[in-house]
Structures are given as structure tokens and as C-alpha cells.
């Protein structure tokens, strides 16, 4: 038998063994197929930054035509559910008890000051605990106020036009749907979980049970073990990934403006990176307990927080920005958000893919190196 034929035979046997193992323990299949669907549904419906139905306490101390038109402006806004309170005290109690998220307070002298032409104050209190939400609420309140001002001026027979007016155009996501940018990022997180979890636990189990040593005394070479282990899980992981993409496109109606093949190639590359990460974790951790813990800590949480999926990397402190460069999810999130929302923009795709390729080589190389060393 030629060496090449022997390699082929050993590889085939190894892949067969791994595939059987996958088929026998339903939890691997669950990780690859049930988890993506479950997570995507959960995240897709559960994570939204679009604030709507903000409960607002409306305190009108002296009702008249002006306060009525301003209250009406809040009632007609899609963002608010105004609730009338008689006294500011009660409204404050409601804010403390989390019954409302903000207060709009029109004092008894509102109309008289309005008529005198001296800036009548509209008191606004928001619960600042969730700073992001508070800022968005504030923006919406200002928006209602500006619309009302223009309306009020028109009623008085004047045109109220600001000296400078902004004309924002938001590219790639004109409707500013947060789901369109969150779902592609979620696919990156889900793939990170699948890839790293699958391999780290599985290989750690072989080390724990001592079957890895048994494998190593056979004529099979280390790179053949690695490849034989990676391939079945690669197929499994890509299946899960394709399912996530299908859900994103047809259930959540996220646009795919780039080409499908680019998406597939980039995903295949990222799958290899996460599998490599899982392998590396399993060679460092000797037990399933440690491997599982490390997989959770080293993959899911950084992919969630440091990848740019939710939080803007450019706004993080410089040291943290440096750390994000070693988080593979960072590159994949950039690729996914671009392919889904903007299209095949090659400068973005190529630089990020190059980074992923480099990480794949490093992870697989280190895993290989560690596996060899551990035999001594």
C-alpha cells in the first residue's frame, strides 16, 4: 500500500468513528441543529433596541387648548403610551415604581408663558438607569416637541424654521430596523458556540477517558486525527449555519444584498476557525468541566460583547480595542453585517477574511503542537 492510500484509509476510518459517535450521542446533533434554531428564534425575537411603547406620565396642571395640542402630539406618536397623572407627586411615585419610564410636566403657568413669548419650560424627567434607553427616549421627546413647535407656529400664522436643518440619510438600513443588524451578528455568535462547544467537549472527553492515548499508539498520525475529527463536525456545523441563514432570510426577512457564495465561503472559513479554537481548548483543558467552562468564557461572552455585534468597537478604550483583534468573531461579524446589509464590498471582505485565515492557521497549529506535547 502506498503511503497516500494508507492515509486515505486511516482518515476514512477516523471519520467513520467520529460520525458514529455523533450519531450515537444525540447531544452533538442537538448542539448543531436544535441550538441554532432555538437561539436564533430567541435572539431574533428577544433582542431589540427599537424602543416603542414607552410609558410616559403626562402631568398637566392646567388644561387648556395649548396643553391639549401638546398632549395630543404625544398621543399620536408611535413611540409613547401617555398616561395622565394629576399631580407631579403621583407621577414621581410612578417613575420610582417603574410604572412609567419618563414624565412630561406642564406646569400651571405653561400657557401664560407661551403666550408671553418667553420660553415656556416643558419639564421632562427620565429614568436614567438604562442610559441608552434614556437617551433614545429623550430624543423621541425632543422630536415630538419639535413637530409640535412647527405646528404651533403655523397656527399662529408664522413659519417656524430652524436656521440649520439636518437631512439624515441612513444607508443600508433606511428604516433603522435593529433586527437587520442584530440577526447577522447573532449568526456569528451561534456559529462560535456550535464550533467551539462541539469540538472542545468531544476531544476533552477522549483525553478524559484516555482513548486519545489509545488512538495515538495506532499508526494514525496526529494531523490525520485532527482532520478526521474536524471534518464530521465541520459538516454538522455548516448544516446548522445554513439553517440559521434560512431562518434569517425567510422568517426575519433580513435582506441579503451580497452574494450567497461569498457568505458560504466566509462561513466555512469561520467554522474552521471556531473548530480550531475548540480543538485548542480541548488540548489545554484536560477535563470536560474545564473545557466547557473555557469554551463558554473564551468564546460566547467575547463574541457577545467584544465583536462589535452590539457595542461599537471604535468607542472602546484603546487597550480593549487591542484585545478585540484576537477575537475571531470580530472579523466575522464585520463580514456578515457587510454581506447581509451592504453587499459584496471587497476591501472589507478580504481584509477580514485574511485575518480569519491567519487565526485558523494559528489555532490549528497550536492545537497540533499541544496534542503532540501532551504525549510526553
Amino acid at each position: 500500500m502506498t503511503p497516500a492510500a494508507a492515509t486515505r484509509m486511516r482518515l476514512r476510518a477516523m471519520i467513520r468513528k467520529e460520525s458514529l459517535q455523533i450519531l450515537r450521542d444525540p447531544s452533538s446533533i442537538a448542539i448543531a441543529f436544535v441550538m441554532p434554531v432555538f437561539l436564533l428564534l430567541l435572539f431574533g425575537y428577544g433582542v431589540s433596541l427599537d424602543a416603542k411603547d414607552i410609558r410616559l406620565a403626562l402631568v398637566v396642571e392646567q388644561a387648556d387648548a395649548n396643553t391639549a395640542s401638546l398632549s395630543g402630539a404625544f398621543q399620536h406618536s408611535d413611540f409613547f403610551i401617555p398616561l395622565a397623572y394629576r399631580h407631579i407627586r403621583q407621577a414621581e411615585q410612578a417613575l420610582l415604581a417603574h410604572d412609567v419610564d419618563g414624565i412630561v410636566w406642564l406646569r400651571s403657568d405653561f400657557s401664560s408663558r407661551l403666550l408671553r413669548g418667553g420660553s415656556a419650560p416643558i419639564g421632562v424627567f427620565v429614568n436614567g438607569v438604562n442610559a441608552n434607553q434614556a437617551r433614545i427616549t429623550e430624543g423621541y421627546i425632543q422630536g415630538v416637541w419639535q413637530v409640535w413647535l412647527a405646528e404651533y407656529a403655523r397656527e399662529q400664522g408664522r413659519e417656524l424654521e430652524p436656521p440649520v436643518a439636518l437631512e439624515p440619510r441612513i444607508w443600508f438600513n433606511a428604516a433603522v430596523r435593529s433586527r437587520d443588524f442584530l440577526i447577522p451578528g447573532l449568526i456569528a455568535i451561534i456559529m462560535t458556540l456550535i464550533g467551539a462547544m462541539l469540538t472542545s467537549m468531544v476531544v476533552a472527553r477522549e483525553w478524559e477517558r484516555g482513548t486519545m492515548e489509545a488512538l495515538m499508539v495506532t499508526p494514525i498520525r496526529i494531523w490525520e486525527i485532527t482532520l478526521g475529527k474536524l471534518l464530521p463536525y465541520f459538516v454538522l456545523g455548516m448544516g446548522g449555519m445554513l439553517m440559521s441563514v434560512a431562518l434569517a432570510l425567510w422568517l426575519f426577512e433580513v435582506p441579503l444584498r451580497g452574494s450567497f457564495w461569498v457568505l458560504l465561503c466566509a462561513s466555512a472559513l469561520y467554522m474552521m476557525v471556531t473548530l480550531g479554537m475548540g480543538l485548542l481548548i480541548s488540548t489545554v483543558a484536560r477535563s470536560q468541566f474545564v473545557a466547557g467552562q473555557v469554551a463558554l468564557v473564551a468564546t460566547f461572552l467575547p463574541a457577545f460583547i467584544l465583536s462589535g455585534f452590539l457595542f461599537q468597537i471604535g468607542s472602546m478604550p484603546t487597550v480593549i480595542q487591542g484585545i478585540t483583534h484576537v477575537i475571531p468573531a470580530r472579523y466575522f461579524v464585520a463580514i456578515l453585517q457587510t454581506v447581509f446589509m451592504a453587499g459584496d464590498i471587497w476591501p472589507v471582505l478580504l481584509t477580514n477574511s485574511a485575518a480569519l485565515l491567519l487565526m485558523m492557521i494559528v489555532f490549528l497549529g497550536l492545537a497540533q503542537h499541544n496534542a503532540r506535547k501532551r504525549l510526553d
Binding site: 447531544s27 416603542k52 441608552n132 437631512e167 439624515p168 444607508w171 461572552l301 467575547p302 457577545f304
Partner: protein
């Protein structure tokens, strides 16, 4: 020979103690396990405490200013001079806009047309075009908000200088509990809950599965230990480790991140104890359902990930669809986050938080009970 109640309680206590010590040793005897329990939480707290913020600064911006007049330059200077923005490029034709946005070099392009100052002096609205990268819609909205408030200030100043009347009504915003709207004050207390949950679930989720895999759990069942005693013995290490790590992260939040702790520490600890108890309950339940450690780990993941996502840690529960909001009622982290933020920022005390304590207690009791039942009823 009849035992007194006291004697039997004493013996029971001894058995529980022995089991707890054995469980603690099982987790702590391995150097790698010890490292995994101590190092990652510290690293995560530091990294996430700094990284997890929605506040934007140094947003890269390109300016396309066709009008060299003083007011145009003043407006541009106000944008570029703000800590939120960082001028990356000045461009002079339309063709340069798309590559800058497409390649993510800038988040926003500010375009002032030739007629900007002419319109401004004539009292017609002078238009400023914003081209914003919408790939991250939240960022896009925030960028727009920052620019809107800069332009608003500019408009007020312009009106004042040119003798125009101020707007008839103005909005005066005050934020309670977090007057500078610092995201970090919102996120860091959340991390206390997040990390405590991860630690307790992981420590307990494998504890029964590991013994089942090794076959020692059947041996445990034939010892004089009753299921309740096994349950308590298996819970204690998780509770101790969870409380210890939780306290440490709490200390870091106050000392390192300087988040004000304005409420009662006692109220916080009642919440933390109940929360960790519910985490331990869920972990043990998962563990007794699992036949292998891989299944236990998978179960822990399938619990922790949704529990974090649906807790209101990063995105508000009110934004979720109604059905998903119902699911969040089963998530102990949802309640603990309210307790944490309430005590940290809103100055809450225990009586104000009772409504958040009892659901956690209920979750703990239900899961612990189910776990104890599973000990005997799930065997191969």
C-alpha cells in the same frame, strides 16, 4: 433503640457536611478547575466593564464642506471639536463618500452645500446632509442624536445673535439616578449578576452528571444519605462559590469602576442569596437530567444564554414581543438585575424589593425539588 430527633438531625448534618466537603474538593482539587473559577471572572469584569457601553466617542467622521463661509466653518468646528466625533477626512467631491462609508472608515459624512450660508443669512433653512452607515442601527440613531443636539445648540446661538425670538417652549430634561447617562453604571451592576449566574450554573450543572458518568452516583444513592441530604450537600459548594465570586465582583464594581452603591447592602445580599440559590437549583436540575457531562454542559448553555439575553442585561425587556416577555418571568436573572440596579443606582431597600425576591425564591424551590425527585427517578 430509638434515636432522639436531635441525634438524627446531628447525624444528618454530619452526612451533609461530609458530602459538601467532598463536592468542594471535587471542584477545587484540580489546579485547572481552580484557575477557571477565579481568573476568567476577573478578566471578564475588567474587559466587559470597559467594553460594554453604548456611549459613543471618537466616531470617525468625514466632512464635505462646499461652503467656506464663517458659519459653515463654525458648525463643522462644533462637530469636530465634540468628544463624540473625530475628524478622519475632509473630502471635496461626491464620489469620495461611498468608499469611505462602504469600507467602514467613517460612520458619518457631513455635507454642507454651496448655498449653506446664503440660505442661513436669508432665513431659509440651511440644509446639512448626513450620510450615516446604518449597518449598526443603534449607532446610527445615536450618531444622529448627537449631531441633532449640536445643531440645536448652534441654532439657539444663531437665533440669539441675530435677534430672532427663542422658541416659545423649551424642553428641560433631567435624568434621575444617573444624571450623566453613563452606560457603565447600567452595565457593571448587570455584570455582577451575569457572572454569578455563569459560575453557579457551571459548578452545579456537571456535579451530578460527572458522577453518573463515572458511576459513583449509584453508590451515593445506596449510602445512608437521603435525597434531601444529597441535594443540600450538592448545593452548598455552588452557593459558597457563587456568594464568594459575587461578593468579589461587587467589590470591584464599587472600588474599581466607582459605580455608586446608594441603597442597602443587606437588600442586595438577600437578592444575591436567593438568586444564587435559584441558579444552583437550575444547575442541579439540569445536571440530574443529563446522563453525560456533555449533555450537562449543553443544558447549562441552553439555560445560561437565553437567561442572559432575556434578562434585560443589554436590551430592555419592554422591547420584546409579549410572548417572549412572559418567558422572561421564569428567568431569575431578570429579577436580580432589578435588585442590583435598584440598590446600586436607585437607592432601594429590602421592603421595596420584595416583589423581586419571591419569584427568585419560587424558582429556587421548584427546581431544587425537581432535582431531588430526579435523583432517584432518573436511572439507566
Amino acid at each position: 433503640m430509638k434515636q432522639t430527633l436531635q441525634q438524627s438531625l446531628g447525624q444528618s448534618w454530619q452526612r451533609i457536611l461530609a458530602l459538601s466537603i467532598k463536592e468542594l474538593l471535587a471542584v477545587l482539587k484540580d489546579r485547572r478547575s481552580r484557575i477557571v473559577l477565579v481568573v476568567p471572572p476577573i478578566l471578564q469584569l475588567l474587559v466587559f466593564g470597559y467594553a460594554a457601553t453604548f456611549d459613543l466617542n471618537d466616531i470617525p467622521v468625514a466632512v464635505y464642506n462646499e461652503d467656506r463661509s464663517a458659519p459653515a466653518r463654525e458648525l463643522v468646528a462644533r462637530v469636530v471639536g465634540s468628544p463624540h466625533f473625530h475628524l478622519l477626512a475632509r473630502i471635496d467631491n461626491d464620489a469620495q463618500i461611498a468608499p469611505l462609508i462602504d469600507n467602514r472608515e467613517v460612520l458619518v459624512v457631513l455635507r454642507l452645500g454651496q448655498r449653506f450660508s446664503a440660505d442661513l443669512y436669508r432665513g431659509r433653512p440651511a440644509r446639512v446632509q448626513l450620510i450615516i452607515d446604518g449597518r449598526n442601527s443603534n449607532t446610527a440613531l445615536l450618531v444622529q442624536g448627537y449631531l441633532r443636539s449640536i445643531v440645536h445648540e448652534f441654532n439657539l446661538d444663531w437665533a440669539r445673535r441675530h435677534g430672532q425670538p427663542p422658541p416659545p417652549a423649551t424642553v428641560e430634561v433631567r435624568s434621575w439616578f444617573n444624571s450623566n447617562l453613563e452606560s457603565r453604571w447600567f452595565i457593571v451592576p448587570g455584570i455582577v449578576g451575569l457572572l454569578s449566574l455563569v459560575i453557579t450554573t457551571i459548578v452545579t450543572a456537571l456535579s451530578v452528571a460527572r458522577e453518573r458518568e463515572a458511576g459513583t452516583f449509584d453508590q451515593l444513592l445506596v449510602t445512608p444519605l437521603r435525597p434531601v441530604e444529597i441535594l443540600i450537600g450538592k448545593s452548598i459548594p455552588g452557593i459558597l462559590i457563587g456568594l464568594f465570586e459575587g461578593s468579589f465582583i461587587l467589590l470591584m464594581a464599587v472600588v474599581w469602576f466607582e459605580v455608586p452603591l446608594s441603597g442597602s447592602l443587606g437588600a442586595l445580599y438577600i437578592g444575591m442569596f436567593l438568586f444564587i440559590l435559584s441558579g444552583v437549583g437550575i444547575g442541579l436540575m439540569i445536571s440530574s437530567l443529563a446522563l453525560t457531562q456533555q449533555q450537562g454542559m449543553l443544558g447549562a448553555f441552553l439555560f445560561v444564554v437565553p437567561a442572559v439575553i432575556l434578562s434585560g442585561f443589554a436590551t430592555p425587556i419592554e422591547n420584546m414581543p409579549t410572548v417572549v416577555q412572559w418567558i422572561t418571568y421564569a428567568d431569575p436573572l431578570r429579577y436580580f438585575l432589578v435588585v442590583l440596579r435598584g440598590v446600586f443606582l436607585e437607592g432601594n431597600t429590602a421592603p421595596m424589593l420584595v416583589g423581586y425576591y419571591w419569584p427568585m425564591a419560587l424558582i429556587a424551590v421548584v427546581n431544587l425539588g425537581f432535582a431531588a425527585w430526579l435523583f432517584r427517578h432518573r436511572m439507566n
